[in-house]
Every structure is written in structure tokens, then in C-alpha cells.
Symmetry: C2
Subunit: 129 residues, 2 copies
DNA sequence: CTTGACCTTCCCCTGTACTGGAAGGTCCAG
DNA sequence: CTGGACCTTCCAGTACAGGGGAAGGTCAAG
């Protein structure tokens, strides 16, 4: 299977697959005599795995770590658990930060909804911020 | 006042202020005969405003829009209200996405905490993702 | 035989908010 | 007069995940 077909089946683009190969997420593909990349049908599984990792919020570098462990013959289970735990902490922090930001922006917007915008002090740029 | 002093008073760095000037957030500064930037003391207010905008989650481009409106002589109040409203929507969407991501990562991690990691199928890279 | 779809490598570009460093000029204290 | 702190400009790079487009090779259909 050539790269365009594989991309189509995996729901991505040829350009992205070349990028993944260059980043070490996909092993260098076999080539046809004319130099075209030639993939086995199960290559789509690896790309699906990359997509699942992305859906879990992992970076390509983290996904590559998992893939490297798997490719070296060992089981990446523990590493995956650690990554997921770390990712959870990050997500919780991000949610906490966004919630705090949400509250302060609500306060600002409520102040900005207050009538009497004519009282702006030209020296202050904007009395709402 | 020279750039280093202004940076210190505004709680940032000279490099950042030059960057802001190049991005149009600060007007081109006056220069001393030897070419040094020379600021009025109230320049710090404009930098504080930029910081408050950032604290509200606005991008430098959005802050520059507000500053441009103010610099053109009109009142940016309505524009600020619109920006804050739009920002609120974005924040709420981000929180919703992160919450959904959180739940699915929790599910993945719980599955990964399940004993019997020896049953991994080598063809699947990792049974947890 | 030609056309169009597909493939190859290559390098640069996107957006965000800076940061680092080189090469050189200025200012002030000792 | 020299050293160090400060300033100037410009070039380049950071992280992230690709995208754009050039210049050229390959393949199958009509």
C-alpha cells in the first residue's frame, strides 16, 4: 500500500505520515523499486495508536517513548500508567487555572457591562482592565 | 528613564519591551542623543495594562487592538466587552474539553491499574491505549 | 503519447511570546 | 584610562504539529 492510501485509511495525510517517520514514530517504510514507500496493511494500527495517544492528550514525543519501548521488545504498560498519571495531574492543574481565569474574566466582564462607559479616564487606557 | 529601569519598574525585561515596541504594543520611544530609548515615568502604566490583559487571557494581538483603539482617540470599552465575552466562551469550551479529556484519561488509567499486564497483545502496541 | 494523479526530497512557513547571543557603542566610577 | 554595566541592532532559536509549495520522477488510463 502506498502512502496516500494508508493516509486515507488512517484518516490523515501523506504529509503527516512522512513527518511521523522523520520524527521516529513510524519505522522507515519499505520501498518499491521506484522509491515509493510501501506499507503493510497493519501499519494503520500504529497510526491509530498514535491518534489514541493524541486523544489522551499525549505529545508526539511521549507517544514515541511508548512506541520505542514496545519496539525494543518490552511491555510499555508501566510507562503508560506513569504517563497517564502525569497527564491527569496536568489536566487537573489546567482545569483549576482555567476555572480561576474564568472567574476573574466574569468579574471583569460584569464590570464592563456596568453602564456609564463615558467615565473612562483617558490616562488609563481602559477602566475595565 | 532608560529601558532597563522601566523594565525593572514594570516587572519585566528590556528585551521584552523592545519586543513589545516592535510588535506595536508600545509606541517608538524617544531617544537620547546617543540613541538610547528614553521613557516618561507613565510608560509603566501602559505595560501594566498589557500585563492585566495577559492576566485576562488575551493575546498580545488582542491587547494591541485595544491599545490601537485607545491611541486613535476613541474609547475601547465596547471592544473590550466583546473581547472579554469571546474569551469567556473560549475558556468555557476549554474547560469542557479538558473535563471530558480528564474523564477519559481517568478511565484509561484505571484500566491500566488493572492487574495482569502480562496479557498484552504484542500486535496492539499497548492494550491501554 | 500524453495527461493527470500520485509519489519523492527539499526547505521554508505558520502562531505565540518571548529568549539568547554576537558585535559594537555609551556612560560612569575609580 | 580602563572595566563593567548598560545600551544598540540584527539574526536565530525555542516548543508544537504539521502545512505550503517547488522541482522532479512514476504510473495507469485513454
Amino acid at each position: 500500500m502506498r502512502i496516500g492510501k494508508l493516509a486515507q485509511r488512517a484518516g490523515t495525510r501523506a504529509k503527516t505520515l512522512r513527518f511521523y517517520e522523520k520524527q521516529g514514530l513510524l519505522p522507515p517504510a519499505d520501498r518499491t523499486p521506484s522509491g515509493y514507500r510501501d506499507y503493510e496493511p497493519d501499519a494503520v494500527n500504529r497510526i491509530d495508536f498514535i491518534h489514541r495517544g493524541q486523544a489522551a492528550g499525549l505529545t508526539l514525543a511521549q507517544i514515541r517513548q511508548i512506541l520505542d519501548i514496545r519496539d525494543s521488545g518490552s511491555s510499555p504498560c508501566e510507562h503508560v500508567r506513569n504517563l497517564l498519571d502525569a497527564r491527569l495531574c496536568e489536566i487537573e492543574q489546567q482545569i483549576a487555572q482555567l476555572t480561576a481565569l474564568h472567574d476573574s474574566v466574569v468579574a471583569l466582564r460584569d464590570a464592563a457591562a456596568d453602564p456609564a462607559p463615558a467615565t473612562c479616564d483617558p490616562g488609563l487606557v481602559c477602566r475595565y482592565l
